[in-house]
């Protein structure tokens, strides 16, 4: 339990942080150390196990399906890192207490810092690669938020995004690498993975996996060519730089390399990729550090260089080099964190970090100066300080690396050169800041020593530098041994942590570096002049430019594809349909099935030809809208006749009634529209469209022909057999609609109802100005409701209703039913609207159409639900015959009540649709004001609207 607790506590702390923030900086700082202190206490009991080379494992199941478990592992390596994270973490918290100003959002700061701590601990303590991956990415995300802590600073925001992009992107690569490893091993548990080293290395995907993992590690640890994000991350508050970007997070990549060392290292690919990357980074970082005038810039590039050094060591692949790498991790963390803190103090006290302005601080803050100088000396590799020890080991390893031929010279030369630069920039950090004349133009003058407690963290770290430097075995010996053994997977080799190894080549290299560095610093003006000849690359600007231009290109591409042209979208849809159907249909070809063709009946064929001609003519004449409308009515009429010809009386009636309503609707709409369509497409486009249309038409023809000539049997036999006995009706189509597939019908009337409601809502606030006259230049006539039509329409209403009632009642047994009856009723009422006007008719209709629709739906649903009471499923129908005296035998079918619901819904919906459109007519509005009182709020708001 202790390990997950160690990881979890900081997160809990983070959640509590805003609470404590109300108590002020001291309160929150104290509270924030609690998780770390508990964690240290929790880890302490395990020390003995680890010192004996043991491992502590705590595993809980989480998501076995993907191989993710909450398994935590404490061994030497993770302990080393955990201690760094915890101890430096405490120091940072203390430091930040004084660094941050009271008015800053300390709750957010400490919360994020604790989140970071938790996830960093998660990385080093995870014993499951996927779990580690999760924490890995959280550190990137939290780092993003911390770098941009001062969100008002442009540099901070940009630096944060760049860091996130690089490390997050690397994280994705790492994820891929880990997943491949997981696939090879069959498990993500560290034990399994580390044990499977040989299998992994022999696997065909090893090169890919390694490359991906290295991408993850190198981005995180700012290795060339991904190093550029780190200096820009220095926009973060200094505690963040010290903690994340020197001591811990950037070491995560190195931790990963060490963690996976047994699984991945020891191959040529590992050697070349890791060590050369490290080498380049080492040199490059050191070189750039020399020329940075910004204190934190210098430190950042120095960090890059030192990270390169560690990576190079790990890449060497020898056991001793690994020990050296881990040793340097400790040493770098201590001296670099203290240097960052010192830089932060200087920044805090002088108001600037520009070394060209900061001079001679020795006089103002001797205490801080002493501390910083010791730490810088350690960074330079001055004996008796910890930096010296690991650097010596590094020099020794660079010599031990036997590259073939002249290449053998490369590592030692690079190492020495990097050493020279390191001494030079360390010298600059000391001389240029604390001596070198007087300060120039400081924003805060004179600078003072910082608050007492702000220096304590620095003192502790500097003290550690000295202790490790002078008593390495005593101070870190056991920890380093445990860590090395855990990394290598075998007991660590014999090595000596002595202050001096005698006069040897590495010592000579150190001398060379030391004096070379001093010489270089003394000649710095020349070097600066040389360096100034090259334009400095502003990675942030480049990054911004790249992201911006990517965004621009993406936007252009999107605008070019998603161009808002319906014509294109429809074309794509139709072409897609043609494309997918093409292959099967072309395989089938022009196919006439075994049933063959029946002889042509000439009158039908003639009318068929008229249908075809009308369809094509509609397309051809579509620009003359009214004409096209008449033509499409012909199509509709002939379609209805087709249904008569081929045995579908119900369809005929439905088609005819729908046709009438559609025509009225289109007439209503056309009133507001231009009466003609301009030619908008080029000739080529029209030919293209004709081609597409022709293809679609031919396809449908071929398919229809194939279908019509195939033999066929369907489930419909059942409907024919059970219509009368089971459904109580002889009109099988109607029985299907209200009984066998009554649920479809319920859906269908819902569609009608929804459409009506949608139309009503859509037109509610629509103001349309009709053109003053028809397209030929005639103004519209004044007369609105001609006598003749009025006089005929009125008696038509009861007569049509009678027909409608008849069609409705007979529907179950003969062609007809609720739909058709509903449409007849609707058309009869529409006729009243046309003949006598909107308000006249509205005044005479007692019920709001909303309620008619709702009532219809309710009837249908309730009839269906009625069967539930008898234990039967929804929509189970029942029917029976009762005999009344005189009247005779009557059939009573529940389906009829259902159909009544259909009827009402159709009447309500159809009328609502058409009337909503009619309502927007300016003439309706003017006259309808009289009838306000009898109508709801909708009518009033609508009618008060004047035309534009």
């Amino acid at each position: 339990m202790s390990l997950p607790l160690v990881v979890l506590l900081p997160f809990l702390g983070a959640m509590a942080a805003p609470l404590f923030a109300q108590g002020g900086r001291t309160a929150i700082a104290i509270a924030s150390t609690v998780p770390a202190l508990i964690a240290l206490a929790a880890l302490f009991p395990h020390w003995q196990t680890l010192a004996d080379g043991g491992v502590v494992l705590h595993t809980y199941e989480w998501l076995p399906a993907i191989g993710l478990s909450l398994s935590f592992r404490l061994d030497g390596l993770s302990l080393l890192f955990a201690l760094l994270i915890l101890v430096i973490g405490i120091l940072i918290i203390l430091y930040a207490r004084y660094y941050l100003k009271p008015e800053e959002n300390i709750g957010k700061f400490y919360g994020l810092l604790l989140c970071f701590k938790g996830s960093m601990l998660g990385i080093v303590l995870s014993s499951n690669l996927l779990l580690m991956m999760i924490f890995w990415e959280i550190t990137s995300l939290v780092s993003f938020l911390l770098i941009s802590f001062w969100t008002h600073k442009k540099g901070a925001r940009r630096g944060a995004r760049m860091a996130l992009t690089v490390t997050g992107g690397g994280g994705l690569a790492l994820l891929a690498g880990i997943l491949i490893i997981g696939q090879i091993v069959g498990s993500y548990e560290l034990d399994d993975v580390l044990a499977a080293g040989p299998i992994i290395k022999a696997h065909a995907l090893y090169p890919v996996a390694l490359t991906l993992v290295l991408l993850g590690a190198f981005t995180k640890s700012a290795q060339f060519p991904f190093h550029f994000w780190l200096p820009h991350a220095m926009q973060a508050p200094t505690p963040v730089s010290a903690y994340l970007h020197s001591a811990t997070m950037v070491k995560a990549g190195i931790f990963l390399l060490a963690r996976l060392y047994p699984a991945l290292a020891g191959t040529e690919q590992w050697f070349y990729m890791v060590s050369f990357t490290g080498m380049v980074t080492l040199l490059l970082g050191a070189y750039i550090a020399m020329f940075k005038h910004d204190l934190k810039g210098l430190l950042a590039n120095s960090t890059i260089s030192h990270l390169g050094l560690i990576v190079l060591l790990l890449g060497m692949g020898t056991e001793l080099a690994t020990v050296a790498a881990l040793f340097h991790v400790i040493n770098h963390a201590t001296f670099k964190a203290s240097l960052f803190m010192a830089a932060g103090i200087i920044d805090h006290e002088t108001g600037t970090r520009d070394m060209r302005r900061i001079n001679g601080l020795w006089r103002f803050m001797p205490h801080t100066a002493t501390l910083a100088m010791v730490a810088a000396a350690s960074m330079a590799g001055v004996p008796l300080l910890n930096g010296f020890l690991s650097k010596e080991m590094f020099f020794a390893e660079s010599l031990a690396l036997n590259l073939p031929g002249y290449w053998a010279w490369l590592p030692p030369v690079v190492a020495t050169l990097a050493g020279i630069f390191a001494v030079a920039y360390s010298a600059r950090f000391i001389h240029d800041v604390f001596f070198n004349g007087k300060p120039i133009d400081l924003p805060i003058y004179p600078p003072h020593e910082p608050p007492r407690y702000m220096k304590i963290p620095v003192e502790i770290l500097v003290f550690a530098c000295l202790m490790v430097g002078m008593f390495p075995t005593l101070s870190v010996g056991p920890l380093l041994y445990a860590a090395s053994s855990a990394t290598l997977g075998t007991p660590a080799p014999d090595y000596q942590l002595a202050v001096m190894h005698g006069l040897n080549l590495p010592l000579f290299m150190s001398f060379l570096a030391f004096f070379g560095g001093l010489l270089m610093y003394s000649q710095r003006k020349r070097f600066f002049a040389f360096h100034d000849r090259f334009r400095e690359i502003d990675e942030k600007a480049i990054f911004e430019k790249v992201v911006f231009s990517l965004g621009l290109r993406a936007n252009q591409f999107t605008a070019a594809t998603e161009n808002g042209s319906l014509q294109r979208y429809v074309m794509l849809l139709i072409v897609s349909a043609l494309a997918v159907a093409f292959l099967p249909i072309s395989k089938m070809g022009f196919f006439i099935g075994s049933n063959g063709l029946t002889p042509v009946d000439w009158p039908t064929a003639t009318l068929g030809a008229v249908l075809i001609a009308s369809a094509l003519a509609t397309a051809a004449m579509h620009r003359e809208r009214f004409f096209a409308l008449v033509l499409i009515s012909v199509v509709g009429l002939l379609t209805a006749l087709t249904f008569v010809r081929f045995s579908a009386p119900d369809l005929t009636m439905t088609q005819l009634s729908v046709e009438v309503v559609t025509v009225v609707l289109l007439m209503l709409a056309l009133y507001y529209m231009p009466s003609w369509t301009p030619i908008e497409s080029s000739r080529g486009r029209r030919f293209r469209d004709m081609g597409i249309a022709l293809l679609a038409g031919s396809g449908m023809t071929i398919i229809t022909l194939a279908i019509l000539t195939q033999p066929f049997s369907s489930i419909s036999e059942f409907f024919l057999e059970n219509s009368k006995t089971g459904g109580g009706g002889t009109n099988v189509v109607n029985v299907i609609l209200v009984d066998f597939r009554g649920f479809d019908t319920l859906g269908e009337i819902s569609v009608l109802a929804i459409a009506a409601l949608g139309i009503f809502a859509m037109l509610k606030n629509t103001a349309l100005t009709p053109p003053p006259g028809d397209g030929l230049g005639h103004a519209w006539a004044r007369q609105s409701h001609p006598t003749m039509l009025k006089q005929i329409a009125r008696p038509m209403l009861p007569m049509a209703l009678m027909v409608s009632a008849f069609i409705f009642l007979r529907g179950h047994n003969l062609p007809g039913g609720g739909f058709i009856a509903g449409l007849i009723t609707a058309v009869a009422l529409i006729l009243q609207y046309i003949a006598s006007g909107f308000s006249w008719t509205e005044d005479r209709i007692a019920m709001r159409y909303h309620n008619v629709i709702a009532l219809g739906l309710l009837f249908a649903v309730m009839t269906g639900a009625g069967s539930l009471a008898f234990g039967y499923p929804f929509l189970t129908s029942t029917f029976g015959y009762i005999t009344w005296p005189v009247v005779g035998k009557f059939e009573l079918a529940s389906a009829l009540v259902f159909d009544l619901g259909v009827y009402l819904a159709v009447v309500g919906a159809t009328l609502m649709m058409l009337v909503s459109v009619g309502r927007i007519s300016p003439h309706s509005a003017i006259r309808a004001i009289d009838s306000e009182s009898s109508h709801g709020a909708d009518t009033i708001t609508l009618n008060q609207r004047e035309t534009k």
């Binding site: 399906a65 849809l573 066929f712 949608g758 909708d938």
Partner: protein, 505 residues
């Protein structure tokens, strides 16, 4: 035959009918009734989820007619999962809407509930034509909802959406006709029996029908090249509607998952895995298109609409590959992405309401009120959407990546998904940092307060990704079992044998 299967259909339907009746009643009453309906629907969905977890199929024969003759509702794990997903999304969007977005027309709540009903029918039905009807219900309701709200910006995208879907409906009918013309049946289980038996030239008819159906589903799912209707339609919708529409593309995906493994699955003989070889590259292309769109987005809304497209590609690629693991992974991701994107839509509305004329444009503006709350929510939403740990999007993507093992497909899938995530990350970080951090002097007038109701409904949707992580074990077990159930078609075919309710029983 348990009547519970009716509940997710009848509850919203009756609720919608009630809304029509009370359309002129005071707003609070309408809102209370509407929310009660949504809550009850969610409760019913959860009950069904509980039922479905025992891996048996539950069949509800409408009208007590034996399948394949009557229409059946079939409850399996997939259906139950989709129901819960939809009902939870709907409830939260609905809650958000009563914060004021439901004003303007009296039809909002009934349309909303009708759409919920249509969705639920689509997820439950075991009948191909009834699926068409369900699609029409949810589409017509969606048309209405899309047009809800004031302003003139939505009529054109709405028109595009409607016209394309109407063409899609025509294709659906053509496809049904082709399949029926050979098999003579509409019941999906019966189709699963009949389709493999089709031989000779008739096969091509069914094949072409099946491919057209795929186009229909691809249109709903906004698969490339049928993607382009989506961004503007969603970008112009009212926030709760746009958020609720996060489920709409999933309906297309649902259609593919429901129909293809069952009817054109491994057992379909010569038609086995019909169309999946087309679907895979198109899914990847869709993903890429989505990423490009997100990269180029100039408003937060657009960014998130393209996120929808990205998730469609991410979902369909493993589905096309057809492995059980991939299917399970996709289902897990489907849950995650739907909630997250829904939440982001709501969030953006809150952001928009604080930014005056800057609206949701990715440009600088004076600092907004409630910045911490809104930016934190955005951060979580973006993390989950981009598929970064520790939120559920990451888990979904990991599962999807894990589902492929070596081969060209793996390279393409991994490469596309991971590269896509990378660029998405860039897009989100840019958008978020500009909108929330890059402030200019001044303050915004007319910013509407973020009420607790709005914040809670938004937070809850985005927070679902946290919940999913906490419950990742059971949820992934569920989705994997769903995939197993989907790929073993025998159980579904068995639904044909469901006994009917006899007289007196």
């Amino acid at each position: 035959m348990t009547h519970w299967l009716l509940a997710p259909i009848l509850i919203p339907l009756l609720g919608a009918i009630l809304q029509i009746f009370v359309g002129y009643a005071p707003m609070p009453l309408r809102r209370v009734l509407a929310i009660i309906t949504s809550v009850l629907t969610l409760a019913a969905a959860i009950i069904l989820l509980n039922l479905a977890s025992d891996d048996t199929y539950r069949v509800y024969a409408m009208g007590n007619w034996q399948p394949p003759f009557g229409i059946v509702m079939v409850l399996d794990r997939l259906a139950a999962m989709m129901l819960v997903l939809t009902a939870s999304l709907a409830l939260l969007c609905h809650l958000f809407s009563i914060g004021g977005a439901d004003e303007g027309t009296r039809q909002f709540h009934s349309l909303f509930l009708f759409q919920l009903m249509g969705l639920n029918i689509a997820f439950l039905t075991g009948d191909l034509f009834n699926l068409f009807v369900a699609f029409e219900i949810l589409l017509i309701a969606s048309y209405g909802l899309l047009m809800h709200g004031s302003g003139s910006s939505r009529s054109t995208p709405g028109l595009h959406y409607v016209v394309l879907n109407l063409v899609g409906s025509s294709l659906f009918l053509i496809s049904v006709g082709m399949i029926y013309s050979v098999t003579g049946t509409l019941n999906m289980a019966d189709l699963a029996v009949k389709v493999p038996q089709v031989s000779g030239d008739q096969r091509f008819l069914v094949e072409a029908g099946g491919m057209l159906l795929l186009v229909v589903f691809a249109l709903k799912a906004a698969v490339l090249p049928l993607t382009f209707w989506l961004p503007r339609a969603y970008a112009s919708a009212t926030a709760p509607v746009a958020a609720f529409f996060a489920i709409m593309t999933k309906v297309g995906i649902y259609g593919i998952i429901r129909v293809y493994p069952l009817v054109f699955g491994a057992n379909a003989g010569e038609m086995a895995n019909l169309g999946m070889n087309w679907l895979f590259p198109l899914a990847l292309a869709t993903l890429i298109m989505g990423v490009i769109g997100a990269m180029g987005a100039q408003t937060l809304r657009t960014l998130v609409t393209w996120q929808l497209v990205i998730s469609v590609g991410t979902l369909l690629a493993p589905i096309a590959l057809g492995s059980q693991k991939g299917l399970g992974a996709a289902l897990f991701y489907l849950l995650s992405t739907t909630w997250t994107v829904g939440g982001l839509f709501l969030l953006i509305e809150l952001v928009r309401s604080q930014r005056g004329s800057a609206s949701d444009k990715i440009v600088m503006a004076p600092q907004i009120r409630h910045r911490t709350l809104l930016s934190s929510l955005f951060f979580f939403g973006a993390v989950s959407a981009a598929g970064l740990p520790p939120l559920s999007g990451f888990f979904g993507k990991v599962m999807i990546l894990q589902s492929t093992t070596s081969g060209v497909e793996m390279a393409w899938l991994w490469g596309t998904i991971l590269t896509g995530s990378f660029f998405t990350l860039i897009a989100y970080s840019r958008a978020g940092s500009v909108v929330f951090w890059r402030n200019i002097e001044g303050n915004i007038e007319n910013s509407t307060p973020v009420t607790p109701l709005l914040a809670i409904s938004t937070g809850a949707l985005i927070g679902m990704s946290v919940l999913m992580v906490a419950m990742a074990g059971p949820i992934s077990a569920y989705t994997n079992a769903t995939a197993v159930q989907l790929l073993d078609t025998r159980g579904y075919i068995q639904t044909l044998q469901t006994p009917m309710v006899e007289e007196g029983s």
